[in-house]
């Protein structure tokens, strides 16, 4: 019951946040938060629930980001039309990557995903069709609402929020169904899962494809909102690492873990950028490094797990009193 109340409160807060904080600065943070939450929640399906830690999810993010701007640049299509193309490309890439790499386990899978993402980044950096190292631009002035080019942050905020809502709903459904049980079983022990008739490789492949779908959508939203994409902001390793950190900080393999992680990390990042100015882009790496060390050392289950343990302890203490 209390969990339901918490969810309603969170939904209300997210829904009214731009009205409570109308300042563009805060709306910008709100949009950044939603984007981080969408990316990390997408990663969470395969990295958290199935325990297949991809550190190359920027490959899907990047494809999703490039597709709308590429088809706009080439044919003048509205960016909206590029989103499904990005998703289809990402699913195809997921299958292509998943088939060979899901034979690998643990660190080897992570390393393989890094390698593929880096290859794509370097390839895009030299490919003139997609703008090479300079990248691509979106429409500067909207020709209509379908260009999704707005002056303020508010429309983006609600579009992102809707996508996040859909993603959380899908994850919730996955979690309750056979698919979700299979993912958690695979994470715990592939061998045991297999002995119980779980089609391990197919299940992992499906999870990766679903995860790629939403990661790609996140990339599209990012590119359309920013109106610009280059190899680093699309396929850079920092994009992948951020998804892992946000999810792990909040709690990988939990529904709201990535949200909690984004809620903490995004404001922290904004603060760091403000304090240290433009020269502080290296600070992001230091911040991420520090968080990785802290999570790995003290809370491998993330903050969500910590909170769950604390609340259980409080309840026990309340019973005892």
């Amino acid at each position: 019951m209390s969990a339901r109340v918490g969810v309603c409160l969170l939904a209300a807060l997210l829904l009214f946040f731009p009205l409570i904080f109308p300042d563009p600065f805060y709306q910008d943070i709100g949009v950044a938060f939603l984007l981080a939450a969408i990316s990390a929640s997408s990663w969470n399906i395969v990295g958290g629930y199935a325990g297949q830690v991809s550190v190359g999810h920027s490959m899907f993010f990047g494809l999703g980001a490039y597709a709308p701007l590429l088809f706009y640049t080439l044919f003048g299509w509205p960016p909206l039309a590029g989103i499904p193309i990005g998703i289809l490309l990402s699913i195809a890439l997921a299958v292509l990557i998943g088939l060979p790499t899901f034979r690998l386990s643990g660190h080897y899978f992570s390393m393989a995903t890094i390698a593929v993402a880096e290859l794509i980044r370097i390839f895009f950096g030299t490919w003139t069709l997609v703008g090479g190292a300079i990248g691509l631009q979106g429409p500067a002035v909207a020709r209509g609402w379908w260009d999704l080019t707005f002056r303020g942050d508010l429309p983006y905020y609600y579009i992102f929020l809707a996508v996040l809502g859909l993603l959380l709903f899908v994850t919730y459904e996955v979690q309750r169904r056979r698919f979700g049980f299979y993912l958690r079983a695979i994470k715990a022990s592939e061998r045991a899962a297999r002995s119980l008739g779980v089609p391990v490789r197919l299940t992992k492949l499906k999870a990766l494809a679903l995860s790629a779908t939403f990661t790609s959508a996140a990339g599209s939203l990012y590119a359309i909102k920013t109106g610009f994409i280059d190899p680093d902001s699309g396929f850079g390793i920092l994009v992948s690492v951020q998804m892992v950190i946000v999810a792990a900080l909040g709690g990988a393999g939990t529904l709201f873990g990535p949200l909690v992680g984004a809620l903490i990390l995004v404001p922290l990042q904004t603060a760091a950028n403000t304090w240290f100015g433009g020269s502080g882009s290296g600070m992001t790496f230091i911040l991420y490094g520090g968080i990785i060390v802290l999570i790995a050392r003290f809370e491998p289950g993330g903050l969500f797990d910590l909170w769950r343990r604390l609340s259980a302890m409080m309840r026990r203490r309340a019973h005892a009193a």
Partner: protein
């Protein structure tokens, strides 16, 4: 025959862990598989479960060749197995653990839950207990419950009763007997002779990758080759004197 292994062999490099083993199990039997450590029982067992691909030989289940089939296919066909080390899904509750097995024949969540609940009840576990908080006896029991939920026709038990106290052992034997009575054929690998003597009517003894003796438990424990395998030649001589 429900399960038939013909001349199964498995080599790791130049070492033959299993060197031409035969086994035939009829529907409704309980067969014991014993032998000293390193005799090749586990490797043979893994071949039967589809976890290890035999180097040569054939394994038939209900007349169908399953030698090269994956563990998933074995489970679907109706061959279930437990593990020596139980491999509990730590982050899941007992009921959720069992539901993973139940989903094989009941794709819908409510049916799977219902089915899993019945099995958890039968094994005497607490459904809402977290997997990670279980001790060894609980984990072994959960391992059995999980595989039972897949509704196997043949159950392969790999030392599922080792490491239990005498009273836990009695409960576990009763559980295996109940499973057998419900119509499941069982092949059991076990070190504890009490288990073998009380549960099985037919025993195969492994040594150095071969089946060196077979028969009723009473016959087997008097067999010269068996005594030699376990205790060495000296022990046999001592007894004969």
């Amino acid at each position: 025959m429900l399960l038939e292994a013909q001349n199964v062999a498995k080599a790791f490099g130049s070492f033959w862990a299993v060197a031409g083993a035969d086994l035939a199990v009829a529907e409704g039997e309980i067969v014991g598989l014993i032998g000293p450590n390193g005799a090749g029982k586990s490797t043979f067992f893994n071949c039967l479960a589809g976890d290890t691909l035999p180097t040569s030989g054939r394994i038939l289940f209900d007349g169908v060749d399953v030698t090269r089939a994956t563990p998933e296919v074995h489970a679907r066909a109706g061959i279930g197995r437990t593990f020596q080390v139980p491999m509990t899904f730590e982050d899941m509750s007992v009921l959720d653990n069992v539901m993973v097995g139940a989903f094989l024949r009941h794709p819908h969540r409510n049916d799977a839950r219902e089915h899993a609940r019945r099995i958890v009840e039968m094994t005497g576990l607490r459904p809402d207990q977290p997997g990670r908080s279980l001790g060894t006896p609980g984990r072994k029991r959960l391992g059995i419950a999980r595989v039972l939920a897949t509704e196997p026709r043949l159950l392969l038990l790999d030392e599922s009763l080792a490491g239990l106290t005498p009273s836990e052992l009695r409960d576990a034997i009763a559980l295996v007997r109940r499973i057998h009575e419900s119509g499941v054929t069982i092949v059991i690998v076990e070190h504890i002779m009490e288990v073998i003597m009380t549960l099985t009517r037919r025993v195969l003894v492994f040594n150095q990758g071969h089946v060196i003796a077979s028969g009723t438990p009473e016959e087997v424990v008097r067999d010269d080759a068996v005594i030699e395998a376990y205790l060495g030649r000296g022990a046999r001589r001592q007894r004969d004197e």
